[in-house]
């Protein structure tokens, strides 16, 4: 079973590696969005207010995630889904996709952060908590987006539906991460942040558990 998960994961990585347009597409999307923000705010580096910096950062990350992770089931053809179905359990497929998406999502967030910090300045003072927030937010984002992309792949007008369906469900995770990263930027006492971090982790746990329970139902058709 673990072997199957690994091979699904490897297949995703290989597919991405051979067909670099997808990843480069997200990268370009990320960089150009950041640059557009920089130009439209018409600021010198490091002049942006911290609240704006923080909110803008997470909005950019969410949009890049929706674009990047959304395709995980949309790119699979009808026939290939049927082929997977004969090979392994739905949980295995979900695990493989989820691990790949979490990795992709963390990568998007890290690259996004470095470019963003380079162009718009870097006010972060507690890096450990900032990076932890990025990690757990990415896990939550990819959990939601993987399941929603599975749902959307069964519906008709896919691209528009993806954003509409995932936005409101992403919001609890997004709000928690915005608050946490604001705290990490301000560098407030760690004991005040742990509470919020645990809430974020438990929301992640809820999302991923429900995804595991529900995925077999959209899978079986």
């Amino acid at each position: 079973m673990i072997k199957q998960v690994v091979s699904i994961f490897q297949k995703e990585v290989k597919l991405e590696w051979r067909n670099k347009t997808a990843f480069n597409g997200i990268l370009l999307y990320l960089v150009s969005t950041i640059f557009i923000c920089y130009l439209s705010f018409n600021l010198k580096t490091g002049q942006m207010e911290i609240t704006t910096w923080n909110a803008l950062f997470w909005i950019i990350i969410v949009f890049a995630n929706i674009n990047g992770v959304a395709k995980s089931f949309l790119q699979e053809g009808e026939g290939r889904m049927l082929y997977y179905y004969t090979l392994c359990k739905p949980q295995v497929i979900l695990s493989g996709k989820l691990i790949f998406n979490i990795l992709l999502s963390v990568l998007i967030a890290l690259i996004g952060f470095s470019v963003y910090a380079l162009i718009l300045g870097n006010p972060v003072s507690n890096y450990i908590y900032f990076l932890l927030t990025i990690l757990f937010a990415s896990i939550g984002f990819s959990g939601v987006l993987t399941l929603v992309s599975g749902i959307v792949s069964k519906a008709n007008n896919s691209t528009a539906l993806m954003a509409v369906l995932s936005f409101p469900i992403l919001l609890p995770i997004l709000l928690m991460s915005v608050r946490l990263s604001k705290n990490a930027i301000d560098g407030i006492n760690i004991s005040l942040m742990n509470d919020k971090l645990f809430t974020l982790i438990s929301v992640d746990a809820i999302v991923i558990t429900t995804a595991y329970i529900l995925f077999p139902f959209i899978w079986r058709n």
Binding site: N157, L214, N221
Partner: protein, 221 residues
């Protein structure tokens, strides 16, 4: 559910709420003053909404377990009524906030959370409308409904507690302990919750019967 006694109780309780809620002596509290009476109309909307959404999620689970389309009809109609209750809850809340906080929308976390909750269920309806095959629609809809419910709970019950808010009932159980709910308010408030919820269930029941009749007519054509 076809019995009449609970409908009579529901209507009687709502009439009792209307009369007693507006006429019975209410405690004098600073700022709130007479607007405290809004509690009998505003808070029961959220109670009713959460109760019906819970029932809807339960019916979605039962649909996934049995594959009986009847349960799916229950789930969607319960969501429809919940949306009506949610909109009424937001509207009454905004009227109340206009008099006590000075603006209909003042960024209160509970207000924001419930607006997001509405968005989630609008997305659910949109998703159902974009799928044509009835079995597929029911299955995907049920999956999204359960997933939405799982994220709605942290949104409504955990997030608002993490932030400070002007909303009555903060610092503890949202809804209860509000202003040391005194006996006179309690006498109206509990019947109001039961009455409005029964009215909601009755509305839903009518819609369910209507949709069964419609599908029967469609079959005969």
């Amino acid at each position: 559910m076809r019995k009449t006694w609970w409908k009579i109780i529901g209507v009687a309780l709502v009439f009792y709420t209307l009369i007693a809620g507006l006429l019975i002596d209410a405690p004098r509290l600073a700022i709130l003053n007479e607007t405290i009476r809004a509690m009998h109309f505003h808070v029961p909307m959220w109670f009713g909404m959460v109760i019906m959404l819970t029932a809807s999620a339960v019916f979605s689970i039962r649909y996934l377990r049995t594959g009986n389309l009847k349960y799916d009809t229950y789930a969607i109609e319960l969501v429809n009524t919940s949306i009506l209750f949610g909109i009424l809850g937001l509207a009454t809340g905004m009227i109340w906030a206009n008099y006590t906080w000075g603006a209909p929308w003042s960024g209160d976390p509970k207000q924001n959370a419930s607006a997001i909750g509405m968005l989630i269920y609008f997305a659910y309806i949109l998703l159902r409308n974009s799928i044509t095959d009835p079995q597929q629609k029911a299955k995907i809809g049920a999956v999204y409904n359960i997933f939405a419910y799982a994220t709605l709970i942290p949104l409504l019950f955990i997030l608002p507690r993490l932030t400070d808010s002007l909303h009555p009932g903060n610092g503890g159980n949202p809804g209860f302990n509000a202003y040391e709910l005194d006996g006179r308010l309690r006498m109206v408030f509990y019947p109001a919750v039961i009455g409005w919820t029964l009215l909601g269930v009755w509305l839903t029941e009518l819609r369910i019967r209507l949709s069964f009749i419609k599908s029967k007519i469609d079959e005969e054509d």
